[in-house]
Symmetry: C2
DNA sequence: GTCTGCGATCTTGGTCCAACAAATAGGCAG
DNA sequence: CTGCCTATTTGTTGGACCAAGATCGCAGAC
């Protein structure tokens, strides 16, 4: 009978293109996702209880819990005591957290991040100079003005990031915005370091205003120059060594 | 090193912003990460067994397993039956998978991704025109020439992506490269669609060669034009509706 | 005596169950 | 309406069993 078992296993493996090594947990993850889809559940809706899920899919509660841990790590489920697992929209946060996990293992330098920002925001400028409407630029002004109300270093950093995020979002490209937001924790910390050394809300506000004016004037050269200078200004607080490429534009 | 230290502090601060309502599972995730750090374990090294971890950290084995499921979802651990949990370098894959999770492929996202690529690769070009060495450009040629050897559509898509990846990597910015690689599954899928409609290795190779020549000539206008045309060429197979912003530059 | 081959045993992850603690929604009494 | 109580649900633990690989030891061959 052991030969029969081997034969069956071989046939099963042959039938399914992917190895038949699907664990019950992985199967449950898929089944729960299918359940969400077929019931057309939306953010905020609750899944069945762990015990019900176990009975529904013929699995033990611990197995269900392990599957829920994975879904939780993916940010598509949030489990609240007594209520159960509810569908969450924390997916982006999960991606961000995972991304910073990586940087923990192999830390990228701040200079690298600033170089990245220069490329992104310069590229955005090329688009904005051609397509930004007056309302877009007024919106940038409004976001920028909010910086003046910030009190703490932390608030100022958030406000600063909000401006640059608004700038990037004006390009209207979701992928670009998502990748920029991925670096939010690193970018805001760069800002915190700079602002802790010397609180400069007014300077920041003015630098941003000049950038907006360059956009209004459709002056690409001025935009690139002002943006680069603005990014370099923050750099002076975090290190002195030469940038490893892509720093100069 | 100071920059690394600050970077780690940024990550830690960001991770610790949540209240002290840590569950035993979350605590275990941290403890296991600390264990890896303090024992200086490297990729391929094995963690203690689940039972040992439970005894070490005063936790039940099921709790340990739930923590391992999270680490597994993060791609920093791979658990091989009868061997144990070993440190894995699949983290980037996990990030990629998570990133393109639920961001299901739709024509709109195709256009979005191509717009993203235009911004990125144009920005890279600004840097390359000023700083690329002859060796860099020769390397691009070599990568490009490999496309001619590709047989299947899948190989051709991989080769195409390899060229653009090499282009981006020449900027020398790790953050930029990481974010570009994040979109690898989506980008290669776009390429597959285009190449399935009409196998065009030679056309692709020629378009790439022209782009390289523009870089050799330090001709920014030609580079942007050729690159845009090249990206638009792939677009014609994926949809017809107007791009929602950031498509024209 | 030493080496090899084979099987028993041990270890380890995979899954499940039972039990208890903690938290809380919802009902119930005042 | 308020405050308490209970039932339900998640959080956590320990234990049990299984399957499969790793290990060890024993017996037989050279």
């Amino acid at each position: 009978m052991s030969t029969d078992a081997v034969m069956l296993a071989a046939m099963a493996a042959d039938a399914a293109q992917e190895p038949a090594k699907v664990s019950a947990v992985d199967r449950l993850v898929e089944q729960i996702r299918d359940l969400v889809r077929e019931r057309a559940l939306v953010i905020g809706d609750a899944l069945p209880t762990e015990r019900d899920l176990g009975e529904l899919f013929q699995a033990g509660r611990n197995t269900v819990r392990e599957a829920l841990q994975i879904l939780k790590a993916y940010g598509i489920v949030e489990v609240r005591p007594k209520i159960g697992a509810v569908l969450s929209d924390r997916h982006e946060d999960a991606v961000r957290k995972l991304f910073s996990f990586q940087n923990d293992i192999s830390p990228a330098s701040f200079l690298d991040v600033q170089g990245y920002r220069r490329i992104i925001e310069t590229g955005v400028g090329d688009h904005l100079i051609l397509h930004a409407s007056a309302a877009d630029l007024d919106h940038l002004d409004a976001v920028n003005d909010r910086i003046l109300q910030n009190r703490s270093v932390d608030e100022a950093a958030r406000g600063d990031f909000a401006f640059h995020e608004a700038l990037v979002s004006l390009a209207g490209n979701r992928t670009l915005l998502a990748s920029y937001r991925l670096l939010q924790p690193v970018i805001t910390h760069i800002m915190r370091v700079g602002k802790a050394a010397k609180p400069v809300q007014i300077d920041t506000h003015q630098a941003h205003a000049q950038i907006i004016n360059a956009l209004r004037a459709r002056d690409r050269v001025a935009y690139v120059y002002l943006l680069s200078r603005h990014l370099e200004f923050g750099l002076q607080f975090v290190g002195t060594e030469a940038a490893p490429g892509a720093q100069g534009s």
